[in-house]
């Protein structure tokens, strides 16, 4: 008995054990309760449509949702199989595209003597900071034309007179392009990071053995970065698979549904049970992808830890191709990073869409007062609109609160997991913290919706607290990953030497460990800020009303046709994100495109 007591006491004598237990319990509660709620929702009758449809009591158990969704008739084709296939194609396509673009740029930046590297590098990551759907919006603004849809003229037609076919403007093709482009900076950062840290001697020894440049890329470089490429592919794949906003913008016009948009549509139409089944399937697929990823990276672990003295990397001389390639790269990055901003600025000041004459311009959508903007349906221009300011305020507050929670938790999880590395407890916490990554934002929002609408947790619905909760759990994975990685870089002796001096745990954290990993820990705080500032899918079901947050407000503007306000708010969000990024960069050196680049 005393032995047991002693062991328990010894166990909790270590702060890392306390932390792990606390996080274990919290994470189990925050991911298991919702998951169980969702599971039970797959088998119950909901108020409204389902009650009407099946003539059953609300809350009674049934298999009808499964029967209906998988019946094999038109209904299940339209509501499940076709969206599933679409999601799959979009995910694969954008994964490949993201890697091709990101990888190519990464190679040019780290391994060649391309011009204007730092410009390309910092502008290239831009699309990743913007909400993904802004690029979708930009795409339609650009390419819509008189031959497709309603015949509204986009910029390309009005400037060059070219009409793109429908498949180019709406549907799977542009979805792949937009999602692929959006995540290509992600591929760029990951692959570039490895290329940059890869020991140059690996390539140099091949050069000495008289291998040509191309052979080296093919036989040395690519195989070494291959695990990174694959895991990047899987990450983009799962992001693409679960993307919600982009399919809404590019698919609605041609009735192209993906699983995410279908899930939402079903829930909206009152078919919650079937919606939750789809959410569950997306989660299972997410787990599967992570499984594949871990199996793969686990198998080839030795490759990914290629580090080395990364001395002088001999840059490939592009010679005559340098200038043309640089110009192409610059044009490419500018087109997808800067031009959208210009186009949003433009769209936010024109009265009649498609007409860019000076007489058609007005600043009413920004600073108009009651009288002048009456026709547009809002009380005043967005800069004078109290609703907008309170939505912005809430969003920023949400971002900051979530960043505090997520950043701190990520760091503490990192600390505790590294301290107790190898124990089952630490593994459990680490994978639980990563688990939310597998859940598509839409499904995640759906799950929390299920919880918040259940009798026991009704008090959560429509509150700021639930937004904080959902965002904190959802954005924890990257923070805990970066926490673990940064703590792994600190030798345990660093902390132990302070222990010997009797330094209390909190002081050890604040004076020794955090200052050492300052920049990587700060990016653990920065990332959630960015994510919250551009997130829609996660919040859209949970906000009490659309204008509660800036992003959901914007999304509803764009959906309902306040396109000028939409563009103005988009621009505002992007500006806020850029300001936050630059501010953090200036103050701390942490930034989005940190660690790689010219």
């Amino acid at each position: 008995m005393t032995q047991l007591k002693y062991r328990i006491k010894a166990f909790f004598g270590k702060p890392s054990n306390i932390l792990l237990v606390v996080f274990l319990v919290t994470l189990v509660v925050l991911s298991l309760i919702p998951l169980i709620t969702m599971l039970s929702n797959m088998f119950t009758i909901h108020l409204g449509t389902e009650k009407k449809l099946y003539r059953m009591e609300v809350g009674s158990y049934t298999l009808k949702h499964f029967q209906r969704l998988f019946a094999g008739d038109d209904w299940s084709r339209v509501n499940f199989w076709t969206p599933l296939i679409n999601s799959f194609i979009v995910a694969c396509g954008s994964g490949v595209l993201g890697i091709v673009i990101g990888g190519t740029v990464a190679w040019f930046i780290t391994r060649s003597d391309l011009k204007c590297k730092s410009f390309i590098s910092s502008v290239f990551v831009f699309p990743y900071m913007m909400p993904a759907w802004t690029l979708a919006l930009f795409w339609t603004n650009m390419f819509q034309n008189s031959k497709v849809g309603g015949g509204n003229i986009g910029m390309v037609e009005s400037v060059f007179g070219i009409c793109m076919p429908e498949w180019f403007v709406y549907g799977i093709f542009p979805m792949i392009i937009v999602i692929g482009l959006h995540y290509s900076p992600f591929a760029y950062l990951l692959i570039g990071g490895i290329l940059k840290n890869m020991d140059a001697t690996l390539e140099e020894s091949a050069t000495i053995l008289k291998a040509s440049r191309w052979t080296i890329i093919k036989r040395i470089t690519v195989p070494i970065v291959l695990p990174a490429i694959l895991s990047t592919f899987l990450l983009i794949f799962s992001s693409g698979f679960s993307s919600y906003t982009v399919p809404v913008f590019l698919g609605s016009a041609v009735k192209m549904f993906t699983l995410s948009t279908k899930m939402r549509a079903l829930i909206q139409a009152g078919y919650q049970g079937q919606g939750y089944i789809i959410a569950f399937i997306s989660i299972v697929l997410g787990c599967l992808i992570l499984g594949i990823n871990q199996w793969f990276t686990g198998k080839r672990k030795s490759f990914t830890t290629v580090t080395g003295k990364s001395g002088q990397v001999s840059l490939v001389k592009l010679r005559g191709a340098n200038w043309p390639l640089s110009v192409i790269m610059i044009i490419f990055t500018v087109f997808f990073a800067i031009v959208p901003l210009v186009s949003f600025a433009l769209e936010s000041i024109i009265k009649q869409p498609g007409n860019y004459a000076l007489s058609n311009m007005t600043l009413d959508f920004w600073v108009g007062t009651e009288g002048s903007t009456y026709e547009t349906g809002m009380i005043s221009g967005i800069l004078l609109n109290p609703t907008m300011w309170s939505a912005l305020g809430r969003q920023v507050l949400l971002a900051l609160v979530v960043a505090m929670i997520v950043g701190t938790s990520g760091m503490l999880i990192g600390y505790a997991c590294v301290q107790r590395r190898g124990t089952k407890l630490s593994q459990a916490v680490e994978s639980l913290a990563f688990f939310p990554y597998l859940m598509p934002a839409m499904s995640f929002g759906t799950i929390y919706l299920a919880v918040a609408t259940s009798q026991n947790f009704k008090f959560l619905y429509g509150t700021f607290a639930i937004l904080v909760l959902v965002a904190s759990v959802k954005f924890l994975p990257f923070a805990s990953r970066s926490g673990v990685n940064s703590m792994l870089q600190i030798a345990p002796e660093i902390e132990e030497s302070a222990i010997i001096f009797g330094t209390p745990w909190v002081t050890r954290m604040t004076r020794i460990l955090f200052p050492i990993q300052k920049s990587s820990i700060l990016s653990g705080y920065l990332l959630p800020v960015m994510s919250v500032m551009r997130e829609v899918a996660l919040f859209t079901l949970l906000v009490p009303y659309a204008r509660y947050l800036l992003t959901t407000m914007l999304f509803s503007f764009n959906e309902t046709g306040y396109s000028q306000y939409g563009s103005a708010v988009t621009l505002l969000i992007i500006v806020v994100i850029i300001i936050i990024n630059n501010l953090t960069n200036k103050l701390t050196g942490a930034s989005f495109d940190k660690g790689i680049g010219g």
Binding site: T26, L47, G48, T49, K51, K52, L53, D74, W75, V78, T82, S146, V148, G149, G150, G151, N152, Y170, V248, S252, A253, V254, K255, F257, A265, Q268, A269, G270, K351, Q352, P353, G354, N355, N360, Y374, E375, T376, G377, I379, L449, A452, T453, K458, F459, L460, Y461, G462, T463, L541, P544, Y545, A546, R547, Y548, S556, E559, T560, G561, Y562, S563
Partner: protein
């Protein structure tokens, strides 16, 4: 965390207990309010506000924001206490049943929402909200518009781009012909329930008969089909085949058609014409203003007022509903009545002379209205039939 949670739980319990205790009083208060004068209500409302109350007012129509501010101008002691929030139609019945009774500060007290069948099943039947209608108005509003109380009607009309001259649409079956493929714009009915209700109503005996008659007028042969249960289903099938879903909202359909290709036609909310830039507005023609259409020339749906069972301010809500039913509330400065496409159930309120529009009575015979009971009965069949065709 744990402490916060337990505090929250206790808070929730307290609130729900007090909500139950208050539930009767809200219902009773509304009953009492129905026979009070506005002055009496104002006194009561002032008491509620003085006790720390506030009306969180949700609406799917944006003019309500203006109406609320006009209301507070007229009743200055309520200033700032009616807090407006716009709510998306698609979210209405996810959000309201969840927030009402939650005790959350931002939770809804009163709402103006569309889609009667859902209002009935999600809120009224569940006892989550109440209807309120003042005695004084019973003479000027038709009885079927009193329970639940209609604040405004909104119509969706057939409107087209007249760049190629008239499209000569005089029978609704024309729109099922292949020549209209991709040229008819309509908001995804699975996303906006009023559109869905409209289509469902076409399958009702009344409307399928009218469509069968129009069918015979148009094709010269009586309607007969093995595939479809009645003419309503047949028309929906033919119509949805032609629909182009490029635009995701009524405003987008309006501006999109106006600036798009000539000859395109939309079935969308009439009032959204105000969103179209002046330079393009001349491009649009309302079919009904050109000629009568055999069948129908659009549909009309009500926006209802409903009061949450746990509001702290039933009298303020009642006063506000009274206000919305009067000329001052409905036709106040820059609110519904000064626009095309909004109609008060109060028959004494007429559309302004200078507006190209007709009163409620004119439309009531030419448009499809939703019938709560019919939709409730036939939801399953009709919904799946439509949803599968939408994609």
């Amino acid at each position: 965390m744990k402490r916060v949670l337990s505090v929250l739980v206790v808070l929730m319990l307290v609130l729900s207990v007090s909500a139950i205790a208050m539930a009767e009083t809200v219902e009773e208060a509304l009953q009492a309010a129905a026979s009070m004068s506005n002055e009496e209500l104002y006194e009561k409302a002032k008491e509620e506000i003085a006790a720390g109350g506030q009306v969180n007012f949700y609406s799917t129509t944006s003019f309500a924001e203006k109406a609320a501010s006009n209301f507070m101008n007229d009743y200055p002691e309520l200033n700032g206490k009616v807090v407006y929030a716009e709510i998306d139609d698609g979210e209405t019945y996810t959000i309201l049943p969840s927030t009402i009774g939650s005790g959350v500060k931002d939770a809804v007290d009163m709402a103006l929402i569309q889609n009667g069948p859902d209002l009935k099943t999600y809120l009224l039947d569940e006892g989550l909200s109440y209807s309120y209608f003042p005695e004084a108005m019973k003479d000027v509003v038709d009885e079927h518009n009193q329970e639940p109380p209609v604040i405004t009607f909104i119509n969706s009309l057939l409107i087209y781009h007249n760049g190629n001259g008239s499209i000569n649409l005089n029978n609704i079956w024309q729109l099922t012909e292949p020549e209209w493929n991709g040229k008819v714009f309509f908001k995804d009915p699975t996303k906006e329930t009023v559109n869905l209700n409209f289509l469902m109503m076409l399958t009702s005996p009344e409307w399928s008969d009218r469509l069968a008659k129009a069918y015979e007028d148009f094709y010269g042969t009586p309607f007969q089909s093995k595939e479809f249960k009645n003419a309503g289903y047949a028309w929906i099938d033919g119509f949805l085949k032609n629909v182009n879903y490029t635009y995701t909202s009524a405003s987008k359909i309006a501006t999109g058609i106006a600036s798009g290709n000539p000859g395109n036609l939309g079935l969308f909310v009439f009032s959204k014409l105000r969103k179209v830039d002046e330079a393009d507005r001349g491009n649009l023609t309302v079919v009904q203003f050109e000629n009568e259409v055999d069948g129908f020339s659009g549909f009309m749906y009500p926006v209802y007022a409903t009061v949450a069972y746990d509001t702290e301010c039933p009298y303020t809500c009642a006063l506000f509903i009274n206000y919305l039913l009067t000329e001052a509330g409905f036709g106040g400065e820059k609110s519904w009545n000064s626009n095309q496409g909004y109609y008060s159930p109060n028959k004494t309120i007429l559309k302004p002379e200078d507006l190209e529009d007709e009163p409620y009575e004119y439309w009531s015979t030419r448009l499809v209205f939703e019938d709560l009971d019919y939709i409730d009965e036939n939801y399953a069949d009709a919904y799946e039939f439509i949803a599968v065709r939408v994609g």
